[in-house]
């Protein structure tokens, strides 16, 4: 057995123990960098390199070499090729080359009923042409554009899959994948892709019945989307949560929570655990989170680590809370002290792996030396 394979197995064991509710040998670490970071870190031009996924392997390798992680630390979600073919309005490049999600309206107010009656048909017929300008055409042309975009998408994902596999082998990363599926909370997909942040905030007050019915209607679609072909107990479906912190408690309780809980439970019934990015501050909803199936993975952005450990620590798997903003502005010692502080609170008894409070998306998002120092500190010192 090669050294790297042995290392892979050792790291896989860390995460298997974590997931099986055992205390691992040490605190597992998942560094998370977006491909945009990796491109800039390798000294390449983001506006060019993200078009050529064939060339990304040596670029990703540099990040893998320099930043400690027990799982593959680089991943790519949004690539320009297929969005360009589609004439995307919901994923658009900023002047620095970083693709972002601006405010969009994919579903008109008067189309709620069509969505509620048949979400999939409504998305194909009414929403996609609004989100993707090149699909706003006759059906023949539309089919061609869609086929081209899907070909580009599967080519890119094929390239990335190959690169991920090579890097996992080369660097001896663990064989668990918390991104093996993807979906959103039903209320979030209606907010982010269909109505937009502004419109949904108004809909919640003017047409709450429609919002509730739409979230309900989107639920089976999200469960289907989030279930990969081969579910595994050691992999997870990634669900980045968005809108709950911006809602009043009573709106959350009625319009957000029921369909989201059903989604997580539906994925569980299909053999998938959920990996939640708990964006912003969910502390006023912590008792709801406690209701989610055992072993749900939750990476927190903000909030109270002590409270989370106390309320969720025995049932769920916790990560996050490490502020990327501190990596940007703090001294090396402050950064290391913060890691120590979080580990002291979150690690005892297991059920925790080290992760930043969000993905590091670009080179200027964090100080590179601080980031390396923190990951090395945790790797060397957080043993059980």
């Amino acid at each position: 057995m090669t050294d790297m394979l042995a290392l892979s197995q050792e790291r896989t064991q860390l995460f298997h123990d974590l997931i099986d509710g055992k205390i691992p040998k040490k605190v597992p670490i998942s560094g998370s960098f977006a491909h945009e970071f990796a491109i800039q870190y390798a000294g390449k031009d983001l506006t060019e390199a993200q078009w050529d996924t064939d060339g990304l392997e040596p670029i990703f390798e540099k990040t893998c070499q320099d930043f400690y992680s027990d799982l593959l630390p680089v991943s790519a979600f949004r690539l320009p090729s297929f969005y360009k073919i589609l004439g995307s309005r919901n994923f658009v490049m900023g002047s620095s080359g970083f693709i972002q999600h601006p405010e969009v309206e994919g579903l008109a107010l008067e189309d709620y009923d069509a969505f509620i009656a048949s979400p999939f048909d409504c998305i194909v017929e009414r929403v996609l042409p609004k989100l993707y300008s090149k699909l706003d055409t006759d059906s023949t042309q539309k089919s061609m554009v869609m086929a081209k975009a899907f070909k580009a998408y599967t080519d890119e994902m094929g390239n990335l899959g190959r690169i991920y596999g090579n890097l996992i082998q080369k660097f001896g990363y663990g064989f668990v994948n918390f991104y093996s599926g993807f979906c959103e909370a039903p209320f979030d997909i209606i907010s982010d892709q269909l109505r937009g942040f502004k419109n949904i905030s108004i809909d919640v007050r003017r047409v709450p019945d429609k919002v509730e019915a739409a979230a309900e209607a989107a639920t089976p679609l999200m469960i289907k989307m989030g279930t990969p072909p081969n579910p595994s107990p050691y992999n997870a479906t990634f669900i980045p949560l968005h809108m709950a912190p911006y809602l009043r408690g009573k709106d959350f309780e009625r319009l957000y929570w029921p369909s989201f809980k059903k989604t997580v439970e539906g994925l569980k019934a299909n053999g998938m655990r959920s990996f939640l990015f708990v964006e912003n501050d969910w502390m006023r909803y912590i008792d709801y989170l406690a209701e989610l199936p055992e072993g749900t993975i939750m990476l927190f952005e903000y909030g109270d680590p002590k409270l989370v450990k106390e309320k969720l620590g025995k049932k769920h798997i916790i990560s996050g809370f490490y502020p990327v903003s501190l990596l940007k502005t703090g001294t090396k010692q402050q950064c290391i002290d913060k890691a120590k502080e979080l580990i002291d609170v979150l690690a005892p008894g297991g059920g925790y792996y080290f992760g930043f409070d969000k993905v590091i998306i670009t080179l200027d998002s964090a100080n590179v030396e601080n980031t390396k120092a923190v990951l090395d500190y945790v790797a060397e010192n957080a043993n059980y």
Binding site: V92, G94, S95, S96, F98, Q100, P102, E103, F197, K198, I200, S201, I202, V204, R205, R206, M243, P245, Y246, L247, R248, D251, R284, V324, S325, L326, K328, T329, G330, I360, I361, T362, D364, S365, A366
Partner: protein
Amino acid sequence: MDLNALTQAVGDLDETAVVEILEAFVAGNPTGEEAYGVVNACQQGMAIVGELFEKSEYFVGDLIFAGELLNQAIDILKPVISGDKSKKIGAIILGTVKGDLHDIGKNIFASMVDAAGFEVYDLGIDVPPGDFVEKVKEIKPQIVGMSGVLTLALDSMKATVDALTEAGLRNDIKIIIGGNPVTEDACTQIGADAFTTNAAAGVKQCQGWVS
């Protein structure tokens, strides 16, 4: 009419009541003077919304709805407001900084400072430092507000402050930064005068600067 009831209805975000009160008011052929009293009452209602937001009784979604409600109120009042005679307490230039396309927070802040009586110049999203400099030269505002959601926005904010300093404009203005990544440390490093992740607190800061 009962101005306090109107202020309260706006504060409660009670759309039906606000629309009813304003439509009845407009139907009574009020004078321009009376209309400004009513606009003022709506603005005071927005101040209540800001207070409830600071107390965590309202959340971001409520601020967005409040902005919409205020726009709707102004639309109803337009026929009886002749020309723009409202007194402005100051001018503020706003923008989401270079590299960042997010504008929800900026738009919320814009509608709240507008309601608080500022003349607002919104430069939009992904705004290069040079555009801030040009607009400051043209308008000579008291305040510049920079917004961003991505951590990369911090560097752009710094570049913008540096550009304003280089152009010799920094001492004439107050600079406030807002959005998800801003912290006290970031504020110091960027060289801004204030930072906030809370639009209502930011509005108070701006009011403090011009009072």
